[in-house]
């Protein structure tokens, strides 16, 4: 019943907006009887660092997967870089970079081979791949490790390398699903410096995280709970609204409020 209403509203409201990198309306995904994402609406501006917070199972990954064209929504609308998730999934893939929770490089290939492979898959020319490889190795300071197996790199470097390979095709929007889980604090900081650089270059960064300190780095945040967005806004505003000193307090406040 409610789903029918959703799709009606979604159909009548025009979605195209040039300043929006991501635009989501009433997005829903069911797995059988379980609703993983429940009528979620938000939009992300170009160049924004948008944080996605929530406990495990809140629906963050499911949302990200729908936005990347990996999972079909049950209902609702979403457009990424102006492309529709239902009908233009392949165009979306040309314009996004995606880094999943799991480390997604081939550990049995060397650093150089990984870059070469993903470059090739994204359709870069041989020359472009060479340039990109040089650029990335410079940037990550990985020249000494270029011909070593990826498996032998420290986790923090692997994560930064994984991020870099998702940028090979120069995407406008980058989706990061818990990119820093299991990484030490120094590496996490380095990783976030990288994210800031990307945003400064006009990239849109969409990031999910568990870490509340990381949440503070975002321009805007949305907090998900049981498949719904319960709060959305810049970290400062949220802290003011809950009279909290840190995002940790905001988050705990919300969890308590919802439990009651």
């Amino acid at each position: 019943m409610s789903q029918i209403q959703n799709s009606n509203t979604a159909d009548t409201v025009p979605m195209e907006d040039d300043t929006m990198a991501v635009s989501v309306r009433e997005l829903t995904r069911n797995f059988g009887k379980f609703t993983a994402v429940d009528r979620v609406s938000f939009s992300v501006q170009k160049g924004e660092i948008f944080g996605f917070l929530g406990a495990n199972g809140a629906g963050k990954t499911t949302t990200i997967r729908m936005l990347c064209g990996l999972l079909l929504p049950t209902s609702g609308q979403a457009s990424i870089a102006g492309f529709n998730v239902y009908t233009e999934a392949e165009q979306i893939k040309m314009h996004i970079g995606y880094m999943s929770q799991r480390f997604s490089l081939y550990e049995d290939l060397t650093v150089r081979e990984n870059i070469q492979f993903y470059g090739g898959v994204y359709g870069l020319s041989r020359k472009q791949i060479k340039e990109k490889t040089r650029e990335l190795l410079d940037y990550l300071n990985l020249w000494d490790q270029a011909n070593k197996l990826t498996a032998d790199l420290p986790l923090g470097w692997k994560q930064r390398m994984a991020l870099s390979t998702t940028l090979l095709h120069d995407p406008q929007i980058i989706f990061l699903d818990e990119p820093t889980s299991g990484v030490d604090p120094v590496s996490r900081r380095n990783f976030w410096l990288l994210i800031y650089k990307l945003a400064a270059r006009g990239k849109t960064v969409f990031v999910t995280t568990h870490y509340m300190d990381e949440a503070e780095y975002c321009n805007r945040l949305s907090i998900m709970r049981f498949g719904k967005i319960v709060e959305i806004g810049p970290p400062g505003e949220l802290k003011a609204k809950y009279h909290a000193r840190t995002m940790q307090d905001v988050f705990m406040n919300i969890e308590h409020r919802e439990e009651r």
Binding site: C68, L70, L71, R102, Y106, G120
Partner: protein
């Protein structure tokens, strides 16, 4: 196209970097042909046996000699009485005893048909039967030598009568079983390796998360599948070649027919096995599941292919079912090409059937293989 090349390059880099993979590619065909070729055999060799000679004549000596000089039997010597021989059979020391009766030579010469007794251990009825027929052949051979030299028996046929067996003159198991089994092993090898590896290499990427990563790239479904499948076809043909060479070197069995016809037919057959592997990968969440699915499908396909059980021996209904089994056709094709050197234009029916099954399997698998998760 370029993307496919990068996928193939990546796939080979991974294969070459994995010693277990290399061992599988080069070791498996050699070991399988060796072990299975020797082990799966319906012929009987080195049957432990003794003889009881109660005649001690020139002719009975010749008979003993004949039995001691054959590969089929492992001649352990002579004992005095049939009773002792039975005792040895009971204690599982021997599988066969040949008892030559007294007056063997005299009876033979006078045309009175001496009765040589064969005592066989019937626990393994199959082997016993084969052993008995070997024994009979040895006796018949001797008899043929003796006949022309028997002075007073012109025109009459005399036999050494070996009790309780019928002579199967044309039965030559030692030749037939290896010839039949080895091409069969080649077929099974191609089938198992290509279907297993296809399923496993795809599911492995699912497990480590790289498949999801590939799915968010603009790579097309067809490119992804081709990039996975082409290296495995090359590996499959390489493995097939090693198996062919092993079979030739070990058993002296080289194909009589055209090698290109055989390779072409293998490619048609691989459409099915690769499709099966992709299909398994779409169902399985991890490599164990994928292996189980391919194994489950594979074991039926092998059993119903005529590999060791002749299809004519199966019940009628099962025989009909075997028509739906592509392995059946490849089994026919590989044996025909290997043993008879049958030319392509006699095998077009099998080729067509394999193409239809392979095409259907690949299409179904490809349709199930989405660039989405969940």
């Amino acid at each position: 196209m370029q993307r496919i090349l990068y996928l193939i390059q990546k796939e080979f880099r991974q294969i070459l970097r994995e010693p277990a993979f290399l061992g599988l590619i080069f070791g498996a065909p050699l070991i399988q042909v060796l072990i299975l070729g020797f082990a799966i055999t319906t012929d009987v060799k080195n049957v432990p046996m003794i003889m009881v000679d109660q005649d001690h004549s020139q002719m009975s000596n010749r008979l003993v000699e004949a039995f001691s000089n054959t590969k089929s039997f492992h001649f352990l010597g002579q004992v005095g009485t049939a009773k002792e021989a039975v005792h040895l059979l009971d204690r599982n020391k021997i599988k066969l005893a040949v008892v030559i009766p007294p007056h063997f030579e005299r009876d033979l010469k006078t045309g009175r048909q001496p009765r040589v007794q064969l005592l066989a251990d019937g626990v393994d009825g199959n082997s016993a039967g084969v052993a008995l027929s070997y024994a009979n052949q040895i006796a018949l051979k001797l008899q043929k030598q003796w006949f022309p030299r028997l002075p007073h028996a012109p025109g009459t046929v005399k036999e050494i009568h070996l009790t309780g067996i019928e002579a199967r003159m044309l039965y030559n198991p030692s030749l037939e079983s290896v010839n039949n089994i080895v091409p069969g092993i080649l077929a099974v090898l191609v089938m198992l390796i290509t279907s297993f590896l296809t399923g496993m290499t795809i599911v492995r990427e699912k497990e480590i998360g790289t498949l999801e990563q590939l799915m968010v790239t603009p790579i097309r479904r067809g490119e992804l599948i081709l990039g996975k499948v082409i290296p495995l076809i090359i590996v499959g043909l390489l493995l097939f070649t090693i198996a062919i060479i092993s079979a030739g070197l070990v058993f002296g069995l080289w194909m009589k027919g055209n090698i290109l016809t055989l390779y072409g037919m293998s490619l048609l057959f691989m459409m099915t096995t690769l499709g099966m592997g992709i299909f398994a990968s779409t169902l399985a969440r991890n490599q164990q599941q994928s292996m189980f699915i391919t194994w489950f499908l594979g074991i039926f396909a092998i059993l119903l292919s005529g590999f060791f059980i002749p299809i004519e021996n199966m019940p009628r209904v099962i025989q009909w079912i075997t028509y739906l089994n592509p392995v059946r056709y490849f089994m026919i094709v590989i044996r025909e090409i290997y043993l008879k050197g049958t030319a392509l234009h006699y095998l077009w029916k099998e080729a067509l059937e394999m193409t239809v099954f392979g095409g259907a399997m690949l299409t179904m698998a490809t349709l199930r293989f989405h660039k989405r998760v969940g």
